[in-house]
């Protein structure tokens, strides 16, 4: 139920405005002459896909990042925020996507920590009275003596909000506040924010890529796409479909895979697969699909909706809490990664540096990461250095990896070259099932095209490919099947012909959730 602004409030002068903001990062134009306004006493949603520039703008508003061009205006006055201290002093508070609390300290200690008035000795008793008064005023119930590690994610979020309010915040920026919360916690959070705005005159900036959150809790919405503002709407006048169109854009380039190849026999069956994430929340909630040899299934979704867990469970790196995985007519649900590699599973993780390579090792030693268990490369328990050397040189030339030589350290490769190396290494084992998680993330155009072409080559050679990506173009151009994923569930599994960017984009953002297997 969209909210409406009180009718008696005319669109007055904005409480906070950014005009003509441009911000460049090396090689990226993050914000391109952006104008942005927030009215006092509203919940203002900032919507956009990853990389659209929302977080960069919020960081500028909070003084974390300085704009290259343009300026900020607070109640019509030009302001300069050299650091968050300046922003806090002007009554702006920010709650970041990742929690920034000291988990061994009490709630009260965390709230007081970093407050400008707290210098030298800590007057916790006085602070407790003030925070209690604040809680009472805003209607919060938090145990101030509890240690932060004892709290749930939702409660921790409230502590951060309380901390910002204690710092004197009148304008509250929340960056993806719902991403780590359970549905009931989301409901509580949104209701609480509305109360803050309605009763206390706080202004809230809600950064999100989730449409239901926008629709449920905001008065107005600004939509970002590729560093620009593409729409400013009253939420009451918007529909989820319109927002999706703005978010994704209409000009979607299609480059579909060659569909002439015959698909082979069923290779992978996944039934009702569920798994916990690292926080112990159920992140993957009953995913089912099957995949044939020579097919690509594109899992489309915004990061944090269970994709990581899906990839890791299929690779054997994360235990399944329930459900079944059958590969090649064999139950592999509980097999170790090694047993799966031996059966012909290949995995390209999203974390190239942290997981898929060893920075201090040479490229040859990195190749060995996929070969140290292969009897052909470990005669009598010894590593076949010559064979690995030859193999690495073949990969370097076949995958255009730009490296001084095969004994250079992996840490000296650029992101694109490292990904080519990883791709070449995994594909050189000719996997029958290839799991590719964000395979082109952060790559330049040329490297992206190369990686995509290689994935299609693998498919043409009969591999079943599970492609997990945030990039809708990529999913649509490579996949035979498209599965939008939202909050740990496949919203649907669509034939490529039935999937258009609007439908899939809406499903990725949580629309038509009912269509999925609930």
């Amino acid at each position: 139920m969209p909210l409406t602004l009180p009718a008696d409030r005319a669109p007055a002068e904005p409480i906070l405005a950014a005009r003509g903001i441009t911000k460049r990062f090396p090689g990226v134009l993050a914000l391109d002459h952006v104008d942005f306004e927030v009215q006092a006493g509203e919940v203002h949603a900032v919507l956009g896909q990853n990389g659209a520039g929302k977080t960069t703008l919020m960081n500028i508003l909070f003084g974390l990042v300085q704009p290259d061009e343009g300026g900020l205006y607070l109640r019509g006055q030009r302001v300069h925020f050299r650091s968050p201290h300046d922003a806090i002093a002007q009554g702006i508070g920010m709650v970041h996507q990742t929690r920034r609390l000291v988990s061994a300290h009490t709630v009260l200690e965390n709230i007081v920590l970093g407050h400008p008035r707290v210098r030298g000795f800590l007057n916790l008793r006085g602070a407790r009275r003030e925070v209690e008064a604040l809680c009472h005023r805003y209607g919060f119930t938090v145990d101030l003596g509890a240690r932060v590690w004892q709290l749930s994610e939702g409660e921790r979020q409230w502590v951060e909000i309380l901390k910002a309010l204690y710092g004197g915040a009148k304008i509250l920026i929340l960056d993806e506040p719902t991403s780590v919360l359970t549905p009931p916690e989301v409901k509580t959070l949104l209701a609480g924010l509305q109360a803050l705005v309605r009763d206390r005159g706080v202004t809230v900036l809600l950064v999100t890529h989730k449409l239901p959150v926008v629709m449920a809790a905001s008065h107005r919405v600004t939509v970002f796409r590729s560093g620009s503002v593409v729409a400013r709407l009253r939420t009451g006048e918007a529909t989820e479909e319109i927002l999706v169109q703005h978010m994704i854009g209409r000009e979607v380039a299609f480059r579909t895979a060659d569909r002439s190849t015959e698909t082979g026999r069923p290779l992978l069956h996944v039934e009702q697969l569920s798994a916990f994430n690292d926080r112990g929340l159920l992140a993957l909630r009953g995913v089912s699909f099957s995949l044939r040899a020579g097919e690509v299934l594109g899992v489309a979704g915004v990061t944090g909706n269970g994709q990581e867990e899906l990839a890791q469970v299929l690779a054997g790196l994360r235990p399944a809490t329930s459900g079944k995985v059958r590969f090649d007519d064999r139950d592999v649900t509980h097999l170790s990664p090694l047993e799966r590699w031996r059966m012909g599973v290949g995995y390209i993780p999203a974390e190239r540096i942290e997981v898929a390579s060893i920075a201090a090792f040479s490229l040859v030693e990195n190749t060995a990461l996929n070969y140290h268990f292969d009897p052909a490369f470990t005669p009598r328990g010894l590593l076949d250095d010559a064979g690995l050397d030859q193999l690495t040189r073949r990969i370097l030339s076949a995958y255009n990896v730009k490296a001084p030589h095969q004994y250079a350290r992996a840490r000296h490769l650029s992101g694109g070259n490292l990904q080519r190396l990883i791709l070449g290494r995994v594909l050189s084992r000719r996997p029958r099932l290839l799991i590719a998680h964000l395979p082109t993330q952060g790559l330049d155009v040329e490297a992206t095209a190369f990686v995509r072409a290689k994935l299609l080559d693998a498919r043409a050679e009969g591999a079943a490919v599970l492609l997990i990506s945030e990039d809708l173009d990529e999913i649509l151009s490579l996949s035979d099947w498209v599965a939008p994923i939202y909050e740990g569930r496949f919203v649907a599994v669509l034939l490529r012909e039935q999937a258009d960017s609007e439908t899939v984009g809406a499903m990725m953002a949580g629309l038509q959730k009912e269509a999925g297997a609930r």
Binding site: L338, I358, L369, G381, L382
Partner: protein, 380 residues
């Protein structure tokens, strides 16, 4: 740091040649010796005489050389015990405990077989072999315990091994002191003396454990450089997440390196109490050997994980600690000079690591960067 038109920065060295590695080590040793002059001078000793006393005893006196070799063997085993888990990124701080476990197990063999009553049930060669195996197995068990807790339950291996040190220290005390099962004939807080046929055979005064220690150095370096297992250990040590991705089982690997490391510490225990002439029992001051075991950590760190590289370092530590101890007695230097010298060595070695990994670079600052400084104050 900007100095006029030049800039002095500390930057990482791209690649380090073997010559340079040796050179930094030599410089570190010389620096430590130079710094130790202050120790000697403060004690009003003749500087030259003090150095001569240290070195002549440690490396030129026939008795001194043998003592140096014995202690170096002990330190080498301790070094390997730390080094193997270190290559997998795990810290085995349980060297003393594993040494004691090895010693107890070695003495348990003749004790169980009633061999201390001078009637050998089995040929001595076989018994010695049994003692070596028992010592290695006991050390491995104690290490493996920490490895298993680490691998299965994520219990910090440093804490577990530290605690085990204490437990084993008091277990040894219980075993050898008055009324303990391993109590010696004189009951002066020492263990029983090993019957002569069961002491480790010597060749020119050097026990066979020297061959074990040197052989292990070569085998360990080969293990890490050439084998698939060594590759897995190194991969796990550099990046556990990548190793897991590569199909390496963290549980099996953690357990394995601690078993292997513990076995080496057990051998150190065997060596210290059954192979050194004049000891041949668990002495009352056995705690000293526990403290000494920690020098294995230092020498493994200084050798940057190379077992062969640790050999000269262990010899140096052994020689200098013994030589300084000798000089202390001969020249009436203050108590603790030997430890002070080892401490200085440790500090200079660790300091040399900074220069090993980084280099000072002089660069001329491009003239366009340098702002022309106003020569006169502006008016007003």
């Amino acid at each position: 740091m900007r100095l006029g038109r030049y800039e002095l920065t500390l930057e990482p060295r791209p690649a380090v040649s073997a010559v340079y590695t040796v050179l930094t080590a030599v410089v570190a040793i010389l620096l430590a010796l130079a710094l130790s002059s202050f120790l000697f001078l403060s004690a009003d000793a003749s500087l030259l005489g003090a150095y001569r006393a240290v070195f002549s005893y440690a490396f030129f006196n026939p008795r001194g050389i043998l003592a140096t070799v014995q202690r170096a063997i002990y330190l080498l085993f301790c070094t390997y015990a730390f080094l193997v888990p270190l290559r997998a990124g795990l810290w085995n701080i349980g060297l003393p405990g594993q040494v004691f476990a090895g010693a107890l197990a070695a003495f348990a063999v003749p004790f169980v077989l009633r061999a201390q009553e001078q009637t050998l049930a089995l040929p001595p060669g076989l018994l010695i072999l049994l003692m070596v195996a028992a010592a290695a197995a006991a050390g491995a068990m104690l290490g493996g315990f920490a490895g298993l807790l680490r691998a299965r339950l994520q219990v910090n291996e440093i804490l577990v091994t530290m605690m085990l040190n204490s437990i084993l220290f008091w277990l040894v005390a219980y075993m050898i002191k008055e009324g303990g099962p391993f109590m010696g004939a004189t009951a002066e807080g020492e263990g029983f003396t090993l019957p002569a046929p069961l002491t480790a055979p010597l060749l020119r005064g050097v026990p066979f454990t020297a061959a074990l220690a040197l052989g292990a150095a070569v085998l360990l370096d080969l293990l890490f450089a050439k084998t698939a297992l060594g590759y897995r250990i190194r991969a796990f040590g550099e990046n556990p997440a990548a190793a897991r991705y590569g199909g390496i089982s963290p549980v099996a690997l953690s357990l394995l390196v601690f078993l292997l490391g513990g076995a080496f510490a057990g051998l150190a225990g065997y060596h210290a109490f059954t192979a050194v002439p004049g000891v041949y029992k668990i002495p009352g001051n056995y705690g000293f050997y526990g403290d000494l075991a920690f020098y294995g950590i230092i020498s493994a760190l200084i050798a940057r994980g190379s077992a062969v590289g640790a050999v000269p370092i262990a010899v140096l530590f052994a020689g200098l600690s013994l030589g300084a101890r000798f000089a202390q007695g001969a020249l009436h230097l203050p108590f603790g000079v030997d430890y002070a010298l080892l401490g200085l060595l440790m500090m200079t070695f660790i300091a040399s690591h900074a220069l090993y990994q980084f280099r000072l670079a002089w660069r001329r600052v491009p003239s366009e960067v340098l702002q022309p400084a106003p020569t006169e104050l502006p008016e007003g």
